[in-house]
Symmetry: C2
Subunit: 207 residues, 2 copies
DNA sequence: CCTACCGATCGGTAGG
DNA sequence: CCTACCGATCGGTAGG
């Protein structure tokens, strides 16, 4: 009859996002391999098998999370005006990076911790984007060395140094901490500009 | 009779070390939860169950590795003479930290990535040692701020900055890289001293 | 150090 | 979205 129940289930659009966010939180807290699909399902009030109406596999969850994080970092850095003087540009990059950490802490953490558990072809793609990200920083350091706003004897190492100090911040940055994002970014950038030998009397550097 | 085979097996002393080192390598490469006991066993030419003649559990492996790494970091920092002037002391701490990374890369990586998978009481103990480690750095930064060898407006943040730049180095430090440990540590310390506003004309700072 | 084995749990599928 | 279920694999034990 016309009132027969259809078994072709059409998932809501938002449900997938809910699953991805929950997976991100659990992967952040317990790690990818230590998180079971049933655990994710429980947290979104589903049976384990029902997840597969919304996603294809556990790996797809990780891929989505890591991919979005990589894209967010890269997009934020690309927002920074590349024609700014190197010190201002670095301030912008620091602010961008810390902003992503603050706003996307679970995804960023999963990105840093679990990307190596993806298959080799996806890893290669991620490494490419990481290199593109690093190139933005390296270009800034090198431009500053060239125009004299920075004093660096080893630009590749200085770039690694800058990125190291930023990358680790996901370990301690508290989105609800004592400092506003702007204040934190300003101080962090000031420390980095000091490391790069920028003139402390120039602009907002230390007096 | 007197020649009966005894089934009480007495493990060799070195075998345990071999298992621990292999586990460290595999945990580093694939992560703790993604590494199976049978995989470890295969790499030391044993049956999976035979591992338990040498160790008590998989968790004990992780505990040993993480514990040794934490102890190595702390011991290295404590080797640095606390009566040195703050800039020299920081140079020593940088050199100590990078030395541990270089010499104990697998264990250090597992420490940073997997310590959160240990039970809460062990986590607390590790956090205590991490705090002790950080306190050595904070003391150095504060001493330098007090005696004028550093210029820092926010000592807690500056300490986090120093530790962040060091902690991330396990991601890229190549024990067989282009720079010797001494050269690398010298340059890295020089960057950090610049961040802390140390007088560049003082000692081995930038001219 | 091995053989044999166990209960639990895993990611995922069939079918409706 | 659920019920029922599968093969594979997990960490670990018994017993010698």
């Amino acid at each position: 009859m016309s009132n027969e129940r259809s078994f072709a289930y059409t998932p809501r659009v938002t449900r997938r996002q809910e699953i991805l966010q929950t997976a991100g939180d659990l992967f952040q807290r317990n790690g990818y391999h230590a998180t079971s699909m049933r655990e994710i399902a429980r947290n979104v009030q589903l049976q384990g098998s029902s997840l597969y109406a919304h996603i294809q596999s556990k790996e797809e969850l990780l891929r989505n999370i890591v991919d979005e994080a990589a894209e967010t970092f890269l997009a934020a850095a690309r927002q920074v005006d590349g024609s700014l003087p190197p010190p201002e540009r670095l301030r912008g990059l620091v602010r961008a990076h810390l902003g992503v950490i603050r706003d996307r802490l679970p995804h960023a953490t999963v990105f840093f911790h679990e990307w190596a558990h993806l298959p080799p072809d996806l890893q290669r793609e991620l490494i490419e984007r990481r290199d593109a990200y690093q190139a933005i920083f390296r270009g800034t350091v090198e431009d500053g060395a060239r125009d004299g706003s920075f004093v660096v004897e080893d630009a590749p190492l200085a770039t690694l140094f800058v990125l190291s100090s930023l990358n680790w911040t996901y370990q301690w940055l508290d989105p609800y901490g004592r400092l506003s994002l702007d204040a934190l970014a300003e101080r962090y950038a000031s420390l980095l500009l000091g490391a790069l030998g920028a003139d402390p009397t120039d602009g907002r550097g230390r007096p």
